[in-house]
């Protein structure tokens, strides 16, 4: 296995929250009817996670499934396993109306850590980040400033943001700017 070539070489920033470019997050996009029992069973088989409901996440260690739309899920696993898992899932769904692609190298992932991560995200996305309105267990596809992104909270103090690899530099810039120590709002 060759080394993972990150868009920003593992950039990090410490401010109101810690922003880190994650090394090698395995990501597999699944397009299929997420209510189809055969699809749910195949995902369980290969990724060992349950299919999440509307805007839900289902995370278990390195593995996970994120609800992206009624017919799209983003499946998470370790980077090294992504291609094999994508192949195995595609194989299981060969008879179904489904599409499976390993997008690990087409996306960048940033981890936000710290008690003020809600504030950092709220500055960039048109999403109600108030406790109670957005919580761990939910995923939100939206925009961060001018680029498409999806994010979810792993727990109260950490979140992950996924964007296209081509806008990784922009994403790191806006996240770092929103997390500038002199830009605290203390809204939440």
């Amino acid at each position: 296995m060759s080394d993972v070539q990150l868009a920003l070489g593992g950039a990090s920033f410490q401010g109101l929250a810690k922003i880190e470019e994650l090394p090698g997050q395995g990501m597999v996009t699944l397009r299929a009817d997420l209510d189809d029992k055969a699809v749910v069973a195949a995902v369980k088989d290969v990724f060992d996670v349950d299919m999440p409901g509307l805007r839900g996440t289902s995370l278990d260690g390195a593995n996970g499934a994120l609800w992206m739309s009624p017919d799209e899920a983003l499946l998470l696993c370790s980077y090294d396993e992504a291609q094999a898992k994508a192949d195995a899932l595609a194989d299981k769904l060969s008879g179904a109306h489904a599409l499976v692609v390993n997008v690990s190298d087409a996306r960048s992932v940033f981890k936000l850590t710290g008690g003020l991560l809600r504030e950092v995200l709220a500055k960039l996305a048109p999403v109600d980040m108030a406790p109670g309105a957005f919580e761990p267990g939910q995923v939100r596809r939206t925009r961060l400033a001018q680029v498409a992104a999806a994010f979810w909270m792993d727990d109260a103090y950490s979140a992950r943001v996924v964007c296209f690899r081509s806008v990784a530099d922009y994403m790191f810039g806006i996240l770092s700017n929103a997390a500038d120590e002199n830009a605290q709002v203390r809204y939440f």
Binding site: L54, M68, S69, P126, R140, R141, T142
Partner: protein, 109 residues
């Protein structure tokens, strides 16, 4: 600020997550149609001051197209509904009739 609830992902999306797709429920007239039908399809659009039916796409979100009924005058949103239909659902039309008695839009009233 316009807020439309996407019927596919349930998000109350604000305008910057959405992309407008123009008038709803157009019937396409293509090759073989009469000149009148074709020009009607291609060029003629409703431009109401009041109740309007539109297509929108949750572009910075789940990516789905959907329909919305709203008032162009007040920005009141009457409801959103599936893209997989050629006409607004009856309960939504009842809501609009109650709020805007006498409204008309194409062949709907």
């Amino acid at each position: 600020m316009l807020l439309l609830t996407c019927p596919y992902c349930g998000v109350a999306a604000e305008e910057t997550e959405l992309h407008g797709g123009g008038e709803a429920h157009l019937k396409r007239f293509g090759p073989g149609s009469s000149d009148d039908d074709f020009s009607e399809y291609l060029f003629h659009r409703e431009n109401p001051r009041g109740v309007h039916f539109e297509r929108w796409r949750h572009v910075n979100g789940c990516g789905k197209w959907f329909h919305a009924a709203r008032c162009t005058n007040t920005l009141e949103v009457f409801g959103t509904y599936s893209a997989q239909t050629t006409e607004p659902p009856n309960d939504l039309l009842d809501t609009i009739r109650a709020k805007r008695p006498g409204f008309s839009w194409r062949n709907l009233a």
